[in-house]
């Protein structure tokens, strides 16, 4: 049964897709200026080597983050782990830590001569690797597993307990049933998490550069940084766009052809939490270790920097904090509103065009953020001079940058929404726009809030676009932290970085408290 999407919906979805593709278009414009020399450089063996190294890292981080997030998600949703909600919040906080800080933190703790290297060695404990591939893998896994955690938690909470019971009654032990039913049914959650993590790793520069791993994003950065060569950088960026398209196609395959909504009439029974028994202590140790690495360590190092600091001349923090919250909140709202038509079209009116529009949202996600920032400079100067240099421009940048995160969340919420409810509203005389406003949006509220909170968290730490596109003098916590660390003044970075973590922690709290409340069915 195919229905035609209303025009206003197609138009707004098209606008969002076009905005999301802006960085790719910009790269196309810049790359068209490339001469044979630049093409020659692109097609050298080195580029392929870099590509493999980068894809290898992305694949490894995605795998490790998924493997780490799965037990954590299960423990914090399905088991009787003490303090499940508190753990869930703490386990998501690493999302808020900028990688340009977490890289320094890992080095300060475990690097040669780092604060924890000597004690760990003395007690005969292994020192976590910080350099090269293992270091980048560790740093990126710790900072990206929350994407999986959030997706898997939502997936687990939405699963009908009857599926697991069915497997048990067909003779499967709890462990086998978990692997053969629970995990395969989490496929959409794994797919959406993998998309965010994999593409993020492709785009990340901060961690790989600091931890001395040579990746594609670093190569792009070097062109801007050292050579002021926007053309060759654009060629490299386009190569990354091609990779992204490959990843997006792969993800659609990964989603499979199953229908992931509950077939039941009536409400699902809530599953009783699984008793951990003698596994309680190991489970607590696992959660504790991850939180210690992802939250405890950065906070510890930041406090150490702060205490150690001799200058004591930190700038004001309240103003930047308010600016951060304002810009991130506006960005989050914009991203979620922008995601609505895309997700709605893809779920309710599936077709080649609508699915392509939804996929387009991810088009620029793998690009280093500097490319996105420059593409918006390009757009602002060429087409929107009245917005250029205003907060609106920054909000637009956040919208484009974080649209994929919002689309993913909104889409999965929409998939769980019973399509009969909007139809009921239509039968009660509501026009499509009225149905959307009075039924769909209120029912989607928890998902919209979750998406907004996720964007808020990541926007709080965004740097390149903030530096280049914010109104002049619009300091945020992230720019404060950058300003201090760029010159090696770590003591000054401590306070804004801690405030950044604290504010983001509140955001995560909101995210987790929205879960499982009034989930639409």
């Amino acid at each position: 049964m195919k229905r035609r999407a209303p025009g206003w919906l197609l138009a707004s979805g098209g606008l969002m897709a076009a905005l999301a593709l802006l960085p790719a278009v910009y790269l196309g414009v810049r790359a068209s200026e490339a001469d044979a020399d630049a093409w020659g450089m692109l097609l050298r063996d080195r580029t392929w080597g870099l590509l493999w190294r980068t894809l290898g890292l992305a694949a490894a981080v995605t795998g490790c983050a998924a493997a780490l997030a799965l037990p954590l998600a299960w423990l914090t949703t399905r088991s009787d782990l003490p303090g499940r909600r508190v753990w869930a919040v703490l386990l998501c906080v690493p999302l808020a830590l900028p990688t340009f800080v977490s890289g320094y933190v890992l080095l300060a703790a475990f690097g040669t001569g780092g604060a924890l290297e000597e004690p760990l060695t003395r007690w005969g404990l292994p020192v976590p690797p910080v350099y090269g591939f293992p270091g980048a893998l560790l740093a990126l896994t710790v900072s990206t597993y929350p994407y999986f955690l959030l997706a898997l938690r939502a997936g687990l909470q939405a699963q009908d307990p009857a599926w697991l019971e069915g497997a048990r009654s067909l003779g499967l032990t709890p462990a086998r049933a978990f692997w053969r039913v629970t995990v395969p049914l989490l496929r959409p959650a794994f797919a959406s998490g993998a998309l965010l993590v994999g593409l993020y790793v492709l785009s990340d520069f901060g961690a790989v550069a600091l931890l001395q791993y040579d990746a594609f994003s670093r190569a792009i950065y070097v062109q801007y940084e050292g050579a002021f060569d926007r053309t060759y950088a654009a060629l490299l960026g386009l190569a990354l766009v091609v990779v992204t398209v490959g990843v997006l196609v792969l993800e659609v395959r990964l989603r499979g052809r199953a229908g992931y909504f509950r077939s039941a009439k009536g409400a699902a029974r809530a599953a009783a939490p699984v008793r951990l028994g003698r596994w309680r202590v190991p489970a607590l140790l696992l959660c504790g270790a991850v939180v210690a690495l992802g939250v405890g360590l950065p906070v510890g190092v930041l406090l150490y920097w702060g205490v150690q600091g001799l200058s004591g001349a930190e700038g004001p923090v309240l103003g930047p904090a308010l600016n951060s919250v304002l810009a991130s909140a506006l960005g989050a709202s914009a991203a979620v509103l922008g995601a609505l038509p895309l997700a709605f079209l893809a779920v309710r009116y599936p077709g080649r065009l609508t699915v392509a529009m939804e996929r387009a949202a991810y088009g620029g996600y793998a690009l280093p953020p500097i490319v996105l920032a420059l593409s918006l400079v390009f757009l602002g100067v060429q087409a929107l001079p009245f917005l250029y240099g205003t907060l609106a421009m920054l909000v637009l940048a956040y919208l484009v940058r974080f649209l994929p995160q919002a689309v993913g969340t909104v889409r999965s919420t929409l998939l769980q929404l019973n399509p009969h409810l909007p139809e009921a509203a239509a039968s009660l005389g509501q026009a499509p726009s009225g149905v959307f406003r009075r039924v769909t949006v209120p029912l989607l509220r928890p998902g919209l809030l979750a998406g907004a909170a996720l964007v808020f968290l990541t926007a709080m730490k965004e740097l390149p676009a903030t530096l280049l596109l914010a109104p002049i003098g619009f300091d945020t916590l992230a720019t404060r932290v950058w300003s201090a660390t760029a010159e090696g003044r770590f003591a000054e970075a401590a306070l804004p970085a801690l405030v950044l973590l604290a504010v983001s922690g509140l955001g995560v709290g909101l995210l987790v408290s929205q879960e499982g409340g009034s989930a639409p069915s």
Binding site: T112, Q212, E225, F378, T390, L467, I472, T485, A491
Partner: protein
């Protein structure tokens, strides 16, 4: 909600409605360093300064992207490369001769499109607990000796390092530069993101020596107190003794060129020059202003004879770095 909206509007409008006597500066130099200078300039002249801080290359790319429609009047760059890129693209306007003449010809644009405001020397920073000063080679070329295996640190993605490699190519030729890069690479140096990270690593004892700009040591000491790290200046005229500059240029389309020239002039006045030497431990470039007591005289550093504006041609350097597997 209405409050949020009004705040949004006020932020939106305040940045577009600039007063006539307000300069817009894009600064690749850190706010902590140059912010107080702008403040003093405003106190003196009454001209307001709005500053967008960022990283020099990113701001340069932004200015190139903005082209003629840029809102910026002045570009204050961390290094000559960024200024050179803008000059080559025809984005800068000529500065008055009396301003240019205050600075040694080595430290300004040959076309008069930008002028250096302070100097930063390449040095070899070393851990004083692990290395004695007399063990350090007199030339940067000496670090290819295998005895430095596993002891060195560098930041090949960093603009100031790349500027040095360009200087090496120009002074000693492509072959020598290639040999040097291969030689250092054979010593398995640790790779860092920037100069500050190298000083950090030296302080931790992760490496014994690293190629940096001279003033990062002083910044680290301000942050951490006494650390076992010192600067080693190689002999005068050596490529390793390169003095690069931070400098300013005025954007071609600036409608406030007069005010902008006042700012450039202020940065070259003894007060500002002294500020650079005392606050940032950089070398003042205007004659008559003495550098910080912690530093040698600029003449003694002996920067090699080289047109700094040629340092903007980095494509060759990046290619060399990539061909030798450094990048």
């Amino acid at each position: 909600m209405t409050r949020l909206l009004s705040l949004f509007l006020s932020l939106t409008l305040s940045s577009t409605a600039l007063a006539a006597e307000t300069l817009t500066v894009y600064s690749g130099r850190n706010e902590k360093l140059v912010g107080p200078l702008f403040k003093k300039f405003t106190e003196k002249t009454g001209i307001q300064v709005k500053v967008r801080y960022g990283e020099t290359p990113q701001l340069a790319a932004t200015l190139l992207e903005e082209g003629a429609k840029t809102p910026a009047d002045v570009f204050f760059a961390q290094d000559a490369g960024g200024l050179g890129a803008l000059a080559n693209a025809g984005r800068l306007q000529a500065l008055p001769k009396e301003l240019l003449d205050k600075v040694d010809v080595r430290f300004r644009s040959p076309q008069g499109l930008w002028v250096g405001t302070s100097g930063r020397a390449r040095v070899v920073a070393y851990n004083t607990k692990k290395v004695k000063a007399e063990e350090l080679p007199k030339s940067i070329l000496g670090f290819t000796d295998p005895k430095w295996k596993g002891r060195l640190g560098w930041a090949p993605t960093n603009a100031s390092f790349q500027a040095f490699v360009t200087a090496l190519r120009l002074l000693k030729g492509e072959e020598a530069a290639t040999q040097w890069l291969k030689g250092i690479k054979a010593n398995n140096p640790r790779v860092y993101k920037n100069n500050a990270a190298i000083i950090e690593a030296l302080a931790r004892g992760e490496i014994d020596a690293g190629f940096v700009n001279h003033y990062y040591l002083f910044a680290a000491k301000k942050d951490k107190g006494e650390i076992p790290v010192a600067n080693h200046f190689v002999e005068a005229g050596d490529p390793g003794a390169l003095v690069n500059v931070a400098g300013v240029g005025i954007l071609k389309e600036s409608k406030k060129a007069d005010a902008a020239r006042k700012l450039v002039a202020y940065l070259l006045e003894p007060e500002a020059q002294a500020y650079f030497s005392q606050e940032t431990y950089e070398f003042p470039l205007v004659s008559g202003v003495k550098p910080s007591a912690a530093l040698p005289e600029l003449v003694k550093v002996g920067s090699p004879q080289l047109d700094l504006s040629k340092l903007d041609d980095l494509r060759g350097t990046v290619k060399l770095l990539q061909d030798t597997g450094v990048l």
